[in-house]
Symmetry: C2
Subunit: 344 residues, 2 copies
DNA sequence: AACCTCAAGTTAATCGATTAAACACATCGG
DNA sequence: CCGATGTGTTTAATCGATTAACTTGAGGTT
């Protein structure tokens, strides 16, 4: 497959490459006669001309490529949704995404930045695969956009989920169903998760608004996986009946999965005897549990879009404070009214 | 941030750009005196020179970028692992991955190919997010590598999981535990899944080898999600005792999840009363079930690596027949001996 | 002295576009 | 008839590297 150059088109149309360039890019096209334009377009079509973007980039100093650096592509199933959001916007704008996975290795990050800046990408997005506060790598350009993480030292455009509001929505959902004794199955402190703190704040605030005194016994922590959720739920279900929760808000869907297991183990049915709300709306889990899990969705796709929109200058990000993306509640079938003896 | 060019380095070192280029790339470097080399390197360091890969690419006709076209980034959690494999190899080789998601839209595929060829990528990988036979898009270069799909019309390097061997491994695992009545919870025919046919073939072959007459009643089909698995398992568990299976091989982990639910519902314990084997080794599901699921892993990471290795010419792919990547069995806790009354 | 070889560079063409500036030609007013 | 104005197109510089071909001077041979 021989590449056809602009000069081939020019030769065939009997004009100079300058003319071809102007016609095909629609620049200064008023200054070129319609007949010539027509000839050029036909010639381009006839020889199958495809512009060489490398050459164009060299000249224009724009590559129409955006670098996306992420700490780990593989480790979470969320990656795809964020990539998809970013990718969709890029495509709409005629840009391509160059992906670099640094696996959280500082040296790899340095190399990646170097490669991307050598590659002259038009913008850079720095993405984390779960919500954290990060020390941005040295050499990250000031206009890079942070995705699913907040900069430790501020001053950069960033987008993160509104975990606090998400926590509030979850608890409100349970409150609305009539629950008063609502547990929070939290992640252990040692994981130091931003999300954990914020969701808990949301939990407390809604209880306070409802005039409910939070019971410290109902705030339990475990490893944020199914096993941890099971164990934490079991601890709660062993409480004396009047102190036992009628609903559980779980830090994530995996813990909710464990809570389901615990409920089965104790012969309790969901939502008849126990209501459960998760967080993450994890693909292939939340909707597949039995009964399907009511949960709070992490807006990965939307955050990916936002980051790309800001990176491409379509939207202005506020460097002072991270943009909070709402976490919608997804209603399925794991929430019901509390068992009769607890009703009002 | 002003970009520093090679001529800046040359000026500072008091040599020509040709010399700088040779020194920094180690080409013809025997022809340049050590003192000069030293001077050049120091100058480059001093001014913070970073090569401009766009210019280099234009000259060398190599971009050190590989295009990865995929039908859907977002829809499966497998994407990440394949991307990670491809990405790791690319990085090892000093290449970057340019990602394009076409969402299975023919027009988008055409555009993507055009963009990538305009971008002069050195190689192209066409990836599917689940094992299929595809009509490759017109214009896909002959040396593009197919990942997790086989070309309808052959003649291209491709890699797919060895589903047949995977199915065999799963059934052998159950056989080895002493089971004789092994069901296959298959996907419905209308989904027309390559994997379904091959796994079933593997199932039949192992039974034949073991001298077991396959019971058609034990081959049931349903939608390959949790709900379908539950329903299919329930149908099997309603069989009269002597015809009931003691083990279930499920088309995927989601169906296995449903089989768990069915077992719970019938008051059966896993693996005490029923053994279950899944397929996919789906993150956040298989290991998180209670008990953890024994399953067959889809080698996404390895396939991603293989595809990139072939694409970069590190490995030679056989265009005649797709490369089969082994699917290792992952032993966890859902397989045990059959209940006593069925023992031998 | 004439010629050759080798070492250590340099010169200049090239990759394929974009674009400011120049050019050729026509038209028109005075 | 001159200059101004306008129109349509070309010329040539440029982006920043790579690299084949050439230069220059020193040293060696006969």
């Amino acid at each position: 497959m021989v590449r056809v150059r602009m000069s081939d088109v020019a030769a065939r149309a009997g004009v100079s490459t300058a003319t071809v360039s102007m016609v095909l890019n629609g620049v200064n096209s008023t200054r070129i006669s319609p007949q010539t334009q027509q000839r050029v377009r036909e010639a381009a079509e006839a020889v199958g001309y495809k512009p060489n973007s490398v050459a164009r980039s060299l000249r224009t100093q724009q590559t129409r490529m955006v670098g996306l650096i992420s700490d780990t592509i593989a480790s979470t199933p969320f990656a795809g949704r964020m990539l998809a959001g970013a990718n969709d916007v890029a495509r709409e704008q005629g840009h391509l995404v160059v992906l670099v996975d640094t696996e959280r290795d500082v040296e790899a990050e340095r190399q990646a930045l170097q490669a991307l800046s050598g590659q002259q990408v038009d913008a850079i997005i720095y993405a984390c695969m779960w919500h954290r506060v990060v020390e941005v790598p040295e050499g990250l350009p000031g206009d890079a956009v942070l995705l699913d993480c907040a900069p430790a030292s501020g001053g950069r455009a960033a987008v993160v989920p509104d975990e606090r509001a998400g926590g509030m929505a979850a608890v409100r959902e349970l409150l609305a169903a009539g629950h008063r004794r609502i547990a929070f199955l939290d992640a252990e402190k040692r994981f130091d998760l931003v999300a954990s703190r914020l969701r808990y704040e949301g939990y407390l605030e809604v209880l306070a608004d409802a005039g409910i005194e939070p019971d410290p016994a109902l705030h339990v922590r475990a490893e944020p996986v199914a096993g941890g959720g099971r164990e934490a739920a079991l601890r709660l279900l062993e409480l004396p009946e009047q102190r036992r929760p009628t609903a559980m808000f779980c830090f994530n869907d995996r813990m909710a999965m464990g809570a389901y297991a615990a409920a089965h183990h104790c012969g309790l049915s969901i939502p008849g005897d126990l209501s459960v709300v998760g967080y993450d709306d994890q693909q292939l889990i939340a909707a597949d549990l039995d009964p399907p899990l009511t949960t709070v969705a992490l807006p990965h796709y939307e955050m990916g879009r936002w980051a790309m929109e800001v990176a491409l200058g379509l939207l202005k990000g506020d460097p002072a404070v991270p943009h909070l993306m709402p976490c919608p509640i997804i209603r399925r079938a794991s929430v019901g009214p509390p068992p009769a003896q607890f009703g009002d």
